[in-house]
Subunit: 347 residues, 2 copies
DNA sequence: ATTAGCACTCACTTGGATAGAGTGCTAACA
DNA sequence: TGTTAGCACTCTATCCAAGTGAGTGCTAAT
């Protein structure tokens, strides 16, 4: 059996219609609505073929046809037209993603929010894996008699501080010296690299007082690095789920929302996806909860290296054309807005 | 009509029963279940009186009775017994709230999470209003040729940084001098205080180069202060809503969850509540969405001054005794765990 | 190859009929 | 006079049967 022109046309009509209506469509309605010059009976024959080929399914004997994952896949790969964003949409994205240049994490949060608003789906974004980030600068700043702030700046521009309560006596020069030694030792090293080093040892040979100071600071230093590596997950538009007929069943909505509660697992799922625009449709998803959802993720890059992800989750019946365009435009904007000095593409 | 002993006993039984079962209860069931030595008919008479007094309602003619807000109010104020936390529960709370002493916001986030886990309700927490917080220390740290990190430490222990890209040329001494001047000028002042000052003017009279540097840093300084004042809202246990029969209706669940989406409005609602343990039941809430919910909030204090809030939201039918005990224990722990040096009670 | 016609299928809606939990009233009882 | 048993009544929830309508699949005609 062949996927001829007419079959493709019918399949295209069914998919587009179902994406908008969420209702199974029958031969008669299809013929009337899309005036394609052939009778319902002919359409029925073609539909029957398409079903045999695995592109359509039947909820029950006498219901209309519904596209399968395979149909959506064909639609996404070959049938759908590229959706061009309007100037207004482009402007909205540019404005929202480029104003608060200082705080990167906030921008990512805003990106997720904007994405859910524009698509009416659940959106998510993760910050780049910071383990590839390199340290640039370390400082220890005395605040009062027993409080010191440990400050770490990474090449990506990420800054982290921790207030430490020290029991060991210290003075400003010693702190400043220790900070300089730490900066000297770790500058240019990646966080994950440092995590595997035996850093306590690095400070053993130095003078007694410094060694003691270092001994009480280093564990906190490691903790802070660990915290800096953490990938942050931002979710938005969770309540959009209630506007989607597929999830009007409370059990299903619950399953989906509970998946987002297991943040670590979901973050891992995202991290493990390939880079670029990845669409997985229905049963293409290995996760059981996602079997009747589609997941779209795209990557943004900072200096071509640090890679974060942005995407949406929704019913398999979603406006792939619009959504992919929106996501693409957003990731492009994120990547360029945060382009810093230097940094070669390495992939 | 008088609220005699027996009426109170019956009311108590109805409220307790309904809190656990969520089902209207009839005279016969009540009489059997709570073996109170009087016949269903007598109970019916008393119930009828209680209904006339506004403590009970009737979903329809031949259904059992359901407590009104007024009944819950009486129950909370006079009838319910104090719930004593088990040692295990106490330990859980202490452990989770006192380990990561360094990061205050994280602790608040954990508190919200723990609270929703222990109560199976939706929980929330807001960080203290930082506008009463005083500045302690300001520093400007050069990172590379065009990047400087502005670091602000407040008395509460809160630290904030922003990476600034400067176009104005600078050197380390000048930066350090400016930081010292800023610290001298603003130390001990509250954030909201500084926000109202004309700080650009403060640096006009100094030497030209410094004035220029200050001019490019001050706007960012103000932005950062503004950010430090923001009250952060943490929500947790949103999916618990699905386990509550009252919200099995998808429309209701949606209303509630959407309220949490309007974060600013909800934060304001919380901030405006009185301090101490405040319980508002059903129609005691002015917010329309909350008319059939109960809202419990309690305050925690840092140094008796900075006040944050912690609480839960759920159906009017909730285990007030257990929940208030849990919240009380948690706010006590938060307040003592973060008690810093000095600070008089001022309220 | 296409189409009209027709029997058939299945979910959804509508309208009783019935069961069950509970009320409210009345009259009898202690 | 307060308490209780008895009974008619009310209202929801559930079940079932019949009818409706959108749609299919097959067959025979074009």
């Amino acid at each position: 059996m062949d996927l001829n022109e007419r079959k493709l046309k019918i399949l295209h009509a069914i998919v587009s219609d179902f994406i908008h209506s969420a209702e199974p469509i029958g031969s008669r309605t299809l013929s009337r609505k899309y005036s394609m010059g052939i009778s319902p009976a002919t359409i029925r024959n073609e539909m029957s073929d398409l079903e045999e080929m695995g592109f359509l399914t039947h909820p029950y004997t006498s219901a209309g046809r519904v596209p399968s994952s395979k149909a959506y896949r064909l639609y996404v790969n070959d049938l759908m037209k590229r959706y061009e964003l309007s100037d207004g949409e482009k402007k909205t994205i540019e404005d929202k993603l480029t104003n608060g240049l200082a705080e990167f994490d906030r921008t990512i949060e805003h990106a997720a929010k904007l994405l859910s608003e524009m698509t009416n789906l659940i959106s998510f974004a993760i910050t780049p894996k910071q383990e590839e980030d390199k340290l640039k600068y370390i400082n220890l700043i005395p605040v009062d008699e027993n409080t010191v702030v440990l400050m770490i700046v990474a090449e990506s521009g990420k800054v982290s501080n921790t207030a430490l309560k020290l029991k060991v006596p210290y003075n400003e020069e010693r702190l400043s010296f220790l900070a300089k030694v730490m900066t000297y030792n770790y500058r240019g090293k990646t966080i994950s690299n440092i995590m595997t080093m035996d850093i306590i040892k690095d400070f053993e040979s130095d003078m007694e007082a410094l060694s003691q100071l270092a001994g009480s600071i280093m564990p906190k230093f490691m903790n802070t690095l660990e915290g800096m590596m953490d990938v942050e997950l931002y979710l938005d538009g969770l309540t959009n789920i209630f506007a989607i007929p597929e999830y009007n069943d409370i059990e299903r909505a619950k399953l989906i929302l509970e998946m987002f509660n297991r943040k670590q697992a979901f973050t891992d799922l995202l991290i493990n996806r390939d880079s670029g625009m990845i669409i997985t449709i229905g049963d293409e998803n290995s996760d059981k909860v996602l079997q009747d959802c589609s997941l779209i993720t795209a990557t943004y890059r900072i200096n071509g290296k640090l890679i974060g992800k942005l995407g949406v989750i929704g019913p398999t019946r979603m406006k792939y054309d619009e959504i992919t365009s929106v996501i693409e435009y957003m990731t492009d904007n994120l990547s360029t807005a945060y382009e810093l000095t230097g940094g070669e593409e390495d992939e």
